[in-house]
């Protein structure tokens, strides 16, 4: 009996509903506790235990948003991940009122200190540097910490002659850090320029959503750019575009498939195949043979 009309399931935001996107992602970090969840793509009510570690809708295969720890679990060789700069936290370069409280709240909700986790790991035995952004932390926005952690990871890769793989997801610049957040775009891009000069491999994996300053810097600079199916990828937000041109946007606009069609993505890869795909790319850029992949 349901006397108060209370729903006995939770909704999962997979990015299909764009309007309240920011708000929703903050309110609903990954899959909440509860027996039933609702997929926002197909609207099916699904039994939570049917959702595997890949976080896919068992009904329509929508790729739900993942946290860095969930991503590491399905990407890296077990126990191989070593984190860099785990303690780095933002300060308040613009003296934005209540920024500290905003950050604390985001940390509490997401369970992580900032919008990216960086480190090194092995994938099918191949050493690589890896950075994974988290849309659950202030929409993966890039401020000083995201910029610094990614830059250090790139510099580490250059110094140690390692490839780097970056999983992107971001609403864009961290507005509360003002112009300093804009400067992070140049900072990360120049570090990638040196990694590139050194002849090293950079693979980007675009996940839903990747927009704004992250798209206009490191997301689009990969030697190889992979994307998860249906991920929203673009520079300008859809509301901004609609407001500029006063027209409806075409179906599928800025989705991974659109970016593939327009030549900005190399391959769309299903999440269950991503680890294998990355392993193959690493193998084909390495002299070393992997026993496991042969």
């Amino acid at each position: 009996m349901n006397l108060f009309g209370k729903k006995n399931y939770f909704s999962i935001d997979n990015g299909e509903r764009r309007g309240n996107d920011r708000k929703r992602a903050r309110r609903e970090p990954s899959i909440p506790d509860g027996m039933w969840i609702k997929c926002n793509t197909c609207k099916a009510i699904i039994y939570k235990k049917e959702v595997t570690e890949y976080k896919l809708c068992p009904n329509c295969d929508a790729h739900f948003r993942m946290s860095p720890s969930e991503r590491i679990a399905v990407t890296c060789d077990e126990g191989s991940f070593e984190e860099f700069d785990a303690e780095m936290k933002p300060s308040n370069p613009m003296d934005y009122p209540e920024y500290e409280q905003v950050v604390l709240k985001a940390q509490k909700k997401s369970g992580i200190l900032e919008g990216v986790v960086t480190g090194r790991c092995k994938i099918y035995g191949y050493d690589t540097v890896i950075a994974i952004m988290d849309s659950h932390f202030m929409m993966g926005s890039m401020g000083s910490v995201v910029g610094e952690k990614v830059t250090r990871a790139v510099e580490y890769a250059t110094k140690n002659r390692l490839p780097i793989i970056i999983f992107t997801t971001s609403g864009g610049a961290r507005m509360q850090e003002g112009i300093i957040s804009l400067m992070q775009m140049a900072k990360v891009s120049e570090a990638l320029g040196r990694h590139d000069e050194a002849g090293l491999l950079y693979v980007t994996v675009l996940t839903d959503p990747t927009t704004g300053g992250v798209t206009a810097s490191f997301a689009m600079l990969g030697d190889i750019i992979l994307s998860e199916p249906k991920a929203l990828i673009g520079f300008a937000g859809q509301r901004v575009i609609k407001g500029t041109i006063h027209q409806e946007l075409p179906e599928g606009f800025q989705r991974a498939e659109f970016q593939l069609e327009h030549g900005f993505v190399d391959r769309i890869v299903h999440r269950e195949k991503m680890r294998k795909e990355l392993g193959r790319i690493l193998r084909l850029h390495s002299q070393k043979e992997s026993e496991e992949m042969k």
Binding site: D85, E87, M88, K89, P90, S91, N92, P93, M94, Y96, P97, S144, V145, G147, E148, T151, A173, M175, Q176, E177, G178, I179, I180, S181, L182, M183, Q184, M185, A186, K187, S189, E190, A191, L192, G193, R194, D196, E197, G213, T215, A216, S217, A219, M220, L221, G234, F235, A236, V240, I241, T244, I245, Q247, L249, P250, F253, Q254, H262, G263, F264
Partner: protein, 265 residues
């Protein structure tokens, strides 16, 4: 009116001298080049070669108009991807012939439209950031009006970044900031002050290296006073940068942008 809002208003004035006027006042024999060799020619970006007291230079800038007709031709100073790609082509050309690059920045931001997305606005800006950071020739970037976000940064990864007194540079417009963060676009003035987007603020946090005063009667009434100062500064700075060993130049440029960020660990 706060200083910030005053500068925002002045930077956006339709009478504000535009890139072509600055080029005409500072350089001789400007020869404009067109097209990105990939898709088309973007009127929002003006570029070519010119002479600075006998020194060959590459000049690139974002163009705004003074009339509706002019503004339609240059898309109100909001470049499309082909504009950024034209700029990059001209920068690579400058590198080949070891000419310094001078960029003039004046934009509300990169254009937000369907075509811009289809042709990869994000990729075009990203590519410029990376390529400028390692371009083997000196780059000086001058903010002459509005400096709107990534669309401005895409021409501003320079060895030295200058700004006129009433220029501005920010991660988004004060209107956008107020409406996104506070859902209240009436708080624009408050946002402008908070965002530290004026030349004075930017000088303090080292986002720019130098500020140039504007005449009391207004830049539009006495452009020469300011362009003479800019020309003098270019003639002092460029020969020094041109003499510098390329690796030293690139290392200094790297450090210039590497230092930004505030955090604790």
């Amino acid at each position: 009116m706060s200083d910030a809002m005053k500068s925002v208003a002045i930077a956006r004035m339709i009478e504000r001298p535009n890139t072509k006027q600055f080029i005409k006042a500072i350089f001789k024999e400007f020869m404009e080049f067109h097209g990105d060799r990939l898709f088309s020619d973007d009127g929002a970006i003006v570029g070519g070669i010119a002479s600075l007291e006998g020194m060959p230079v590459t000049v690139i800038g974002i163009q705004k108009g003074h009339t509706l007709e002019e503004n339609v031709a240059c898309n109100f100073g909001s470049p499309n991807p082909e504009g950024y790609r034209k700029a990059l082509r001209l920068m690579k050309q400058a590198e080949k012939f070891h000419r310094p690059v001078i960029t003039f920045i004046n934009t509300a931001g990169a254009f937000c439209g369907i075509g811009a997305e289809e042709r990869g606005q994000g990729e075009a800006i990203a590519r410029n950031l990376m390529e400028m950071s390692r371009l083997k020739t000196p780059i000086i970037s001058i903010f002459i009006g509005e400096g709107g976000s990534g669309g401005a940064l895409a021409l501003a990864v320079g060895d030295s970044v200058w700004m006129l007194e009433h220029g501005m540079y920010s991660v988004l417009s004060p209107e956008g900031f107020a409406s996104i963060l506070w859902r209240d676009s009436s708080r624009t003035a408050e946002a402008a002050a908070l965002m530290k987007m004026t030349a004075g603020d930017l000088l303090e946090n080292e986002v720019i290296d130098r500020m140039f005063l504007e005449p009391a009667e207004g830049l539009e009434n006495n452009l020469k006073a300011t362009t003479d100062e800019l020309k003098k500064a270019l003639l002092e700075t460029l020969p020094e940068l041109m003499k510098m060993d390329i690796q030293t130049l690139l290392d200094k440029r790297y450090k210039r942008f590497r230092k930004f960020g505030e955090f604790t660990e």
